[in-house]
Amino acid sequence: MGQFLPFTKQVLKNLFSAPATTQYPFVAREYPERTRGHVDIDKDNCILCGMCMRSCPPGAINVDRAGKTWTINRFDCVQCGYCVEKCPKKCLSITPGYQEPGPEKVNYSVDVPYEPPKPAAKPAAPAGAAAPAQAAKPAEAPAPQA
């Protein structure tokens, strides 16, 4: 008879215990602090260097220096955190909370208020495009080693 009994204890316990699952829509799931949910940007610190764009394994990030925007396709992002590691200004972070589902794959875009330092000489209009490239040089330096 003993061979039929091993599960009986468990069965009785199940009858009188609460469900093991969370009652989701009524009880929200609490994420641990380290959960890699989505990539956030602190736009005030961003220098538009483009390291995140170049390091991103799935190619989800796009940095437009001329248009001063930082764009991420959250549906392509795999939350690996490599961009966070590579960011020279540490303005990227991974925070809990997953990408919400949506009817369309929309890119999330941020306008970065970064003003490149003005060069000493006063060149004409295209300076805006050339200067960030210079400013970003120090950040680019480790790229060949990476």
């Binding site: 380290r34 959960t35 390091s55 795999v78 939350q79 590691e85």
Partner: protein, 359 residues
């Protein structure tokens, strides 16, 4: 002599979510031979090495599999550390050991659940997975991911586990150990479970060696082989015995894996007691140039990594031989002479991961 027929099994089959195809040669209900074919989800891992640099490949490597993801990432990092002569800090080695054993725990609990599902014991399946969930929560608290952890890097690990967190994990594992013992005793002692496992799918030690089986499949045939005994990561400082069984059947495979669950808990306890306070990673500079072969013991068995680098940021070769690939010949052996109804169960006993196999 009965009537012979060939029955295609898979690639879509209710018992197995992953696509493997077997042509089963049947004589009435008895399987005479099984001819496997794979290649339905080939993803071209080697070709990716020409597009992703060797640092990005860490994240690609750990996406080879969703269950042993940690060890795929670690194996790849170990190969590059070997090529680049990087000394990994001791604490990182211990953290890797702890995460490896947590992976083994959740993989074996997952397998027990799938096995229970395979022989139709639904509630046992749910209980195994309920226990596994707590391990996943521990992973999420320590690495930030439940399945893909992204904590390995060439030269160490990216995240540290504070000592309080480690102590809390040990406390949680102590609590779980009793529950796991209750659940696993059903696998080992229940009459219905035994009737499906005992003397089903015999693989003798001789056959296991001849067919090149690995991992629990090999150990269940009485062969003492475990890559952890080679002492990679911090295993050289851990005291453990390789678990083997001489029964050679499906029950033995279940028994070995259950034994390894408790062994993993013990290894984590030992590692937490011995973990030193050092850095967790070293700065790695330069490009890899050379070749390396690394073997690690995954939950499913021995995985083999061959990396060849040429001094640029793109690798020449990155070849992975995963445990399921090595176990497929052993699977065809166990299928010979079994009943048709046991085929799904026997496919499950090798703990198949077809995504791993096809990379």
């Amino acid at each position: 002599m009965g009537k012979r027929s060939i029955v295609p099994y898979g690639p879509q089959h209710p018992v197995l979510p992953e696509p493997i195809h077997l042509d089963l040669v049947l004589e009435d209900e008895k399987v005479l031979a099984a001819i496997p074919s794979i290649g339905f989800i080939h993803r071209g891992l080697e070709s990716l090495t020409s597009k992703k640099d060797f640092n990005e490949m860490v994240y690609v490597a750990e996406r080879i599999c969703g269950i042993c993801s940690y060890m795929h990432g670690m194996g790849y990092c170990m190969a590059l550390e070997d090529i680049m002569n990087v000394e990994v800090p001791r604490r990182a080695e211990f953290l890797r050991t702890i995460w490896c054993e947590m992976s083994r725990l959740h993989s074996h609990l997952l397998w027990l659940g799938l096995l229970a599902d395979g022989f139709g014991f639904e509630s046992l399946f749910m209980h195994s997975w309920r226990l596994r969930e707590r391990i996943l929560d521990m992973f999420e608290a320590s690495t930030g991911g439940r399945v893909i952890f992204s904590v390995n890097t060439i030269g160490g690990v990216l995240k540290d586990m504070p000592n309080d967190m480690l102590k809390d994990f040990v406390r949680q594992l102590d609590e779980m150990e009793k529950e796991i013992r209750d659940t696993t005793s059903i696998f080992l002692n229940d009459y219905t479970v035994k009737s499906r496992l005992v003397d089903v799918g015999i693989l003798t030690g001789e056959d296991a060696i001849r067919r090149g089986a690995v991992g629990p499949m090999m150990r269940a045939s009485g062969i003492n082989v475990d890559m952890r005994k080679n002492g990679y990561a911090a295993y050289n400082e851990i005291d453990f015995e390789v678990i083997t069984s001489n029964k050679c059947d499906s029950y033995a495979r279940c028994e070995v894996r259950i034994g390894e669950i408790f062994q993993s808990i013990d290894i984590i306890r030992q590692a937490v007691a011995k973990i030193p306070d050092t850095e967790i990673n070293t700065k790695v500079t330069g490009m890899p140039n050379g070749e390396s072969i690394i073997r690690v013991e995954q939950p499913r068995g021995e995985a083999f990594y061959h990396v060849r680098a040429n001094g640029t940021k793109f690798l020449d070769r990155f070849r992975v031989r995963t445990p399921t690939f090595a176990n497929i010949p052993a699977l065809t052996q166990t299928l010979q002479g079994c009943q048709y109804g046991d085929v799904p169960l026997l496919v499950l006993t090798i703990d198949p991961c077809i995504s791993c196999t096809e990379r």
